[in-house]
Symmetry: C2
Subunit: 343 residues, 2 copies
Amino acid sequence: MKDIARELNISITTVSFVVNGKSEQKNISAATVKKVKNLIEKRGFKPNSVARMLRTGKSKTIGLIVEDISNYFFGSVAKIIEREAHKNGYNIFFSSTENNFNTARDLIAKMKNSSVDGFVITATKGLRSEMIKLKRENIPFVLIDRLVPGIKASYVILDNYHGAVELTKHLLRNGYSKIGFISIISDMSQMVDRKKGVVDALKDAHITMTEQAMLEIPFGETNEHIINAIKDFITGNPDLDALFFATNYLGVFGIEALQRNNLKIPSDIAVVCFDDNDIFRLLTPSITVAAQPIDEIATHSIEILLHMINNDREQNKPIGTIISPTIIVRGSSPPKTDVKMVG
Amino acid sequence: MKDIARELNISITTVSFVVNGKSEQKNISAATVKKVKNLIEKRGFKPNSVARMLRTGKSKTIGLIVEDISNYFFGSVAKIIEREAHKNGYNIFFSSTENNFNTARDLIAKMKNSSVDGFVITATKGLRSEMIKLKRENIPFVLIDRLVPGIKASYVILDNYHGAVELTKHLLRNGYSKIGFISIISDMSQMVDRKKGVVDALKDAHITMTEQAMLEIPFGETNEHIINAIKDFITGNPDLDALFFATNYLGVFGIEALQRNNLKIPSDIAVVCFDDNDIFRLLTPSITVAAQPIDEIATHSIEILLHMINNDREQNKPIGTIISPTIIVRGSSPPKTDVKMVG
DNA sequence: CTGAAAGCGCTTACAG
DNA sequence: CTGAAAGCGCTTACAG
């Protein structure tokens, strides 16, 4: 910039104004603007964004903190968020928490330190005090996939409760009443809501969900452990006629467990799962799911965040968006009588 | 930092030295160091990394450019790279090219402009001149998954050629000789090598791969288009006894196409695929694959990049690493005689 | 052992 | 219409 100014015998200020498209409001003569623009083009000049950052306090980067970027759901969300962010001139720092509180806390600290302008966060347990800090420091953020209890913040989440209710009702309607619920141990809102949805839908049908019919697996177990836990659960509950998996990857492991137990879907047992993916669509039979509208979730979250960044934060009321899941009925949960006739 | 210095009645310089752990070589008295450290702790002082960036010219961020972050392979690679980068104090900007040259070029420009210290790149077609620019500007980068023709740079790639040879030999050994090859149109090295591997392995067995037995689909088609293309290909080649899918997602769509055609694997047709994933492992029958050692690929690439960043770049010779794929034989390609007996 | 000062490359209030 | 100058928060060569 200095060189451009010197070469043109004008001040740095003037160059800066045309670089930043302020030539109009600053009344720079058309001739000067043209001269500067030409030389910028010729020299391939790009303003140093680090210097600009330091001066303006805006980094034009957003921190994206997800549970696991290699998971289909989060990967897809990340892709869309990144695309939308770039459209608006933002870069994305990303990171996976693996649902670990310490990792999440460190990541947020590190990214704050790198002066991100805002966050999109899938929370972990225990993150409340970090959220409070962010609010105090007026750093905008939007929670996705799950809430943080006691925090009033912007969010985009799925209507997990009604999704679970609908999925359960679908099973009941098709004649399944001995439903096993398989989830991970979690007090995160999305898991709590799914469980509550199942329990309430059953209660509505005058069925009580027993402790014995529920399997809740700690997060972070090895694949083999999870598969074996599910295997043992199924063996220990031979009377179940349907399984409700509370999330994506548990469903995948559950199917592997059923295969190892030589149980056929749906003749031996029906299966439904929260979250869709390619596997569920392609298996024979394909799996009935409550699918998350990924596109909607991603675009809403980045939109809300950019809105918060670009408007006076103090004045901003948190924006909450609840997205309805789509129930996709497939071959894994046909009317029970049909199964009996076939089987 | 200024505040700390003022509060302690010492110079900013001194504070800077202890912040940067240079108190030893700069001979700061132990007492001063302690005083400063205490106050830093108390005030929760964090050095402003943007200012540091501007001053040092190092941003401690790495640009990760992949084909598609929502794809299992790239998502997994990204997760590991990010983890290793954080361990070394680096943040990661990421982005998906969708195999589009313009997107890739813009992303590289944008990230260069954000002063990333280096790149990990899955190249697209036409990226050669960008690579030349990076080299000229002494910005370190490592290519993963595929090379750029004519560019001498660091890379971590799979031994695609031998993987394809081995997978084909496996089919031949099990009695399949009429092999259909399904790929995407691409002159990227990894696709070229896979095709060459298949053709050469067949030639070795005195079989000529015909144009008719090959389907090459343009990148970026809709899912439905791809599935239909494969469906038509299969219908048009009723004599094939095995299908070789050149990549992950084509295999997934191929299986859907086979299902729609009511063809059973392996009794009607055997299937092998490049790249493993959960679907292939869980399907009945499971699918024989050449799996990429994701962990190895990711850790090598970030290691090489950090090495290049931390050592004098001029002096550095490019480091090339070729990783061998693992052939995992599963139910989709049993010895042909067995199939006949069952079928 | 410690400090004053220059400078990284910008932006912007202020002055003319 | 245009420019001189301060300052964003650090690092580091230089001086003492």
